[in-house]
Symmetry: C2
Subunit: 229 residues, 2 copies
DNA sequence: CTAATAATTTAGGCATGACTAAATATCGTC
DNA sequence: GACGATATTTAGTCATGCCTAAATTATTAG
C-alpha cells in the first residue's frame, strides 16, 4: 500500500499529475483541462479523467474537480506539488554541482529520483549545497514552506524591444535543445544583446562571443530573459 | 511498460526478488525455498510462487525454477542481482561519506533508491568516492563485472576460540541494533578482545575502551569478525 | 509404509493505473 | 439557436503484483 498523509494516496503517478497541474495552471492559476494534462503526461485523456476522479474523491483531496470544467489544486495538492518540485530542483542542483552532470542530463535523473528521496535526503543535499535558491536551469527552488518569489522574466520569443538582457532560465524539457543552447553559451546568467527579432529567427550576441547568433524559434522558445537592469 | 534488457521485465519488485534470492543462496549456492523467500520479502508464499513462475517463463529468464524444488539464479539473474547490490552499497557509502548520514540510516534510503539510479549516477558516485571496495557496514561492493572477493570472516556468535579479532562487518538489517553497536564502538575495523562466549552472552573488550562489554545474542549475531592477523 | 504435518501451488480476487471505443457535453460558427 | 467539431467522460479491458482459501505435493514420525 502506497504511503499517505491524510487519506490521500501518494504514488509516483499521483506526484506526476500534481506536478503537471502545477506547471499548467501558470501564475494566473487557471483551471487545467484534461486534454492539456493528457498531452503533458503522455497518457490518454480517459486516463486523466479517471485519475482526477480518484484524486477528487478522497477525503482531503489534492484537487478540486468538476466534470467538463477542468481541475485545480487544493491547498494540500499545491503543497505536495511544490514539495516534489523542490525535490526535483534540489536533485538537479546536486547532480550538477556535486556529481558534475552535464546540464542537459540532470532533468531526466531528477525526474526519476524526486519521488523516492526521504525528507532527510532532501535536507542533507540542501545543506550540502548551501540552501540554493535556483537550480542549474535558473528555475527557482521552492522553500520548505512552499514559498516561491514571483518571476519577472519573459520568454525570449516575447520581447517588445531590442536591447541588453540576462538569461534568466532555460527550459529543461528537451535535452537536445539544452545542449545546443549550452554550446552557444546560453546558460542562466549569460548576457545577451538581442537585435532583430523576426517571427522565426532570433538574432543576438552573447557576452562571451563577438559574432551574432541566429536562434531558431524552438531554441529561442526555451530561453527566458530579464532586462540587464 | 517497465524497462527490459532481454525479454525480462525489470521492476522494483523483480529486483527485490533477485536480491533476496542472491542473499539466501549463500556461498554454497543452494536452491532457495518459496517460504524462505516469502519470509525475507514479507509477502505471502503464494505471491512468491506466482512471481517465480513469471520470472522463469520469460525468454532468457532471471531464474531457474521447478515446482516444489526451489529456485536459483540464472547467469542473467545473478548479473542483475549483483548490479542492484552494487547500487545499494555504493549509495550507502555515498550517503555515509558525502551526505553524513548516521550509519544506521543509510540502509533504508539505499533500499529505496537502488532501483531508480541510472548507470551514470552509479558511475559518478563511484568515481566521487574513489571506487570504494567496501560499504560503511564493511560489506564488499561488487565490481562492475560482478566480481566479489570471497569472504573470510565469521559471525561473532560462531567463534571456536577466544582472542583478538577485527570487526569485519555489521549487519544492516536492523537499524536499532546497529545504533547500539555503534554506541559501543563496534564498527568495521574496530579491534575486539573476545573472552568468554556463553550461548547467550558474548563478553569482549574493544580497542577504544578498557572495560568489558557484554553483548546479547541478537547484538553479537549482527557482527562478523576476522582474526587480528 | 502410512498418516499427519508442513510446504507449496492453484484458483479466484482486488487495487492501481494504464488503454480503446463509444457515448455525451461543450463550444464556435453560421 | 442549431449544428458540427472538439473535448470530455463512461464503459469495459488489461498487466502487475499483491492477497486468501483451498487443493496438492513432500517430508517426517511412528
Amino acid at each position: 500500500m502506497p504511503s499517505s498523509h491524510q487519506g490521500n494516496v501518494n504514488t509516483e503517478s499521483v506526484d506526476n499529475y500534481l506536478k503537471a497541474i502545477l506547471a499548467l495552471i501558470g501564475p494566473e492559476e487557471r483551471r487545467v483541462s484534461s486534454t492539456s494534462l493528457a498531452n503533458r503526461l503522455g497518457v490518454a485523456p480517459a486516463s486523466v479523467t479517471n485519475m482526477l476522479q480518484k484524486l477528487a474523491a478522497s477525503p482531503l483531496p489534492f484537487v478540486e474537480y468538476e466534470r467538463h470544467r477542468g481541475v485545480h489544486l487544493s491547498a494540500a495538492g499545491k503543497r505536495r506539488a511544490l514539495e516534489v518540485l523542490r525535490h526535483h530542483r534540489l536533485i538537479e542542483t546536486f547532480l550538477y554541482e556535486v556529481l558534475d552532470y552535464p546540464l542537459e542530463e540532470v532533468h531526466e535523473e531528477a525526474e526519476r529520483l524526486e519521488h523516492f528521496i526521504s525528507e532527510r535526503f532532501e535536507e542533507r543535499i540542501a545543506a550540502k549545497l548551501g540552501h540554493p535558491k535556483f537550480d542549474p536551469h535558473g528555475h527557482c527552488i521552492p522553500a520548505m514552506d512552499g514559498k516561491m518569489p514571483k518571476q519577472n522574466s519573459k520568454p525570449l520569443t516575447d520581447l517588445d524591444e531590442q536591447g541588453s538582457f540576462i538569461v534568466d532560465s532555460v527550459s529543461d524539457r528537451n535535452a537536445l535543445l539544452l545542449k545546443q543552447l549550452r554550446a552557444h553559451g546560453i546558460i542562466p546568467g549569460a548576457q545577451l544583446q538581442v537585435a532583430n527579432s523576426s517571427p522565426d529567427d532570433f538574432v543576438l550576441r552573447t557576452g562571451s562571443d563577438s559574432k551574432a547568433l541566429r536562434l531558431s524559434r524552438d531554441l529561442a522558445g526555451a530561453v527566458r530573459v530579464r532586462p540587464a537592469h
